[in-house]
Symmetry: C2
Subunit: 320 residues, 2 copies
């Protein structure tokens, strides 16, 4: 394979000039530019990107950390990131953590080693101290409320949106409201729990831990939720489900068990995934593709630190 030196030789110029032509720098005469272009074409020259990376310290690679790659929530998020990456000539390095902390650290280590230019963490596991540590090596972008820190993020105010949803259900006459979440920990889950507790306090309702369902990620997780509900003496009359997939699973199971929706149980999903539309699930729309887009743009902007809030929209359908 030919290298830049060969091209320089062939074109009768210096390697500097070749480099300038390749990178569209000014101050190259038309003839030399032409000569270089010809030489490049003749031997079908391809620069050694690893050499470029070594030289520039940049890789045009952005790391993306997700817990699962087969979940529609992250699927859409990654889709948004990927679309924008395409536009900007960046490539993505995917890290699937299965919520294991050391997987996330591996990704952070790659940032430290400058194997990637920036890291987008779609769902953070490791502590703030660690993020803070690694933030000095390159941009880290999060998908959670980071206001008050020096880390960029695009986020949904889950306190606000959860409160909004709860009030909506309350206004529809529901007093006994339960909710389901993915993992128990994490900023977003915590904000939601706070919103829930504040809501209970506000309306003077007792807290019942049985009304909270954790580890609900997928369609199939709806099954055990319904099973659980059926065995409860005093089940909730409405459920705030933090994923349309799970809501769809619950809805499907309820139909099977002849539990009438929304009469016996009201359901409210999150995300407004296509499945929510098809199954007429009332939900809070989160423009995930848009969120992904913004996350990416923050990732490649290593001068500014910004926190962008994304608004959610209540979509009324037939499950409440």
């Amino acid at each position: 394979m030919a290298n830049i030196k060969d091209i320089a030789m062939m074109a009768g110029v210096s390697v500097t000039t070749v480099s300038r032509v390749i990178n569209n720098h000014p101050y190259v005469s038309a003839e030399k530019k032409e000569a270089v272009r010809r030489a490049i074409k003749i031997v079908n020259y391809q620069r050694n990107i690893n050499a470029v990376h070594l030289s520039t310290g940049k890789t045009f690679l952005i790391g993306v950390v997700v817990p699962f790659s087969n979940h529609p929530y992250f699927g859409l998020l990654v889709e948004g990131i990927a679309n924008e990456a395409l536009q900007n000539n960046y490539k993505l390095v995917l890290f699937q953590t299965n919520y294991e902390e050391n997987r996330e650290i591996e990704a952070l280590t790659m940032l430290k080693h400058k194997q990637i230019d920036a890291l987008i963490i779609c769902s953070r596991i490791c502590g703030w101290d660690i993020i803070d540590d690694y933030a000095s090596y390159g941009p880290i972008i999060l998908c959670e409320d980071t206001r008050g820190t020096n880390v960029s993020s695009t986020f949904i105010d889950h306190y606000k949106s959860f409160s909004k949803a709860l009030e909506y259900l309350y206004n529809k006459g529901h007093q006994k409201i339960g909710y389901s979440l993915g993992r128990r920990t994490g900023t977003n889950s915590e904000k939601r729990e706070t919103a829930y507790r504040d809501f209970l306090v506000k309306f003077n309702h007792p807290f019942d831990s049985n009304y909270i369902f954790y580890e609900c990620f997928n369609f199939e997780d709806g099954e055990w939720v319904v099973q659980h509900l059926k065995n409860m003496r005093n089940p909730p009359s409405a459920l705030l489900v933090s994923s349309d997939q799970v809501a769809a699973g619950i809805l499907t199971c309820c139909k099977k068990q002849n539990i009438s929706i929304p009469n016996e149980l009201a359901l409210m999903g999150f995300d407004n995934q296509p499945i929510a539309k098809i199954m007429n699930i009332t939900t809070l729309e989160i423009p995930l593709v848009e969120v992904g887009r913004k996350l990416f743009l923050q990732a490649i902007d290593n001068t500014t630190i910004s926190q962008e809030e994304i608004a959610v929209k209540l979509i009324e359908r037939l499950t409440v």
Copy 2:
């Protein structure tokens, strides 16, 4: 940041020795090894991976081409690949093509530039001639039957599995069988169509192009299929649906429209995704995670070319 030279200086050895220690090469005395380790620890030395890449010509990056990243089929496939990548200390570069050929070419170009060590194409768009061209630059692994070529693959024999499914439906008394596919072209779609046509010939049934539904990828695509079926004078009595997602969508819509499954319409899905289990959809199980695993292992083995067939399993449930 310290480099290998600094470490060598600190430890009072040559860079070669430092390199040997880092890479666990033999023939380094215990004392020098120790001295190097100490120096590395003191300054928290991290090798410049870009330099390693330039030097070795390897990147420990594997490209993965998928049309969509938010589809459960590819989600599971990527999950399998990602899991195995983790085990082997490789990272993935994700290419989302949206079925645009030049996106795929970009991925192939990265292989050519040695920015990635190998490329796994989960759903190929571009022609064989192009694949052949780029195969000389590094391993390309496909997820379709490549027997008779010099390209590795892990694949499902879709002719066989489709035939199997058709016969199963036939034996259940179905004479009018339709099917739905994702995209119209592609090896897998073609093999399925061949199987379908051969089946019709075998049982002397006429071919009706209205029995074929293309562009069915997601849950929501089930809606228009059902709409279509309702408007048909002579609708099929069974549908072979090449994705559980679509089958679930069809099932859901049929329930809404009071079309009885399997009495009025039998449904058979593909993949055996969790949703198929929950919704009791009869399906052909494809062990996608396992397929992903094998694809990855083929990708990092650049000595052997192999074509691995994966068997599918018929899972009988309640939609046939």
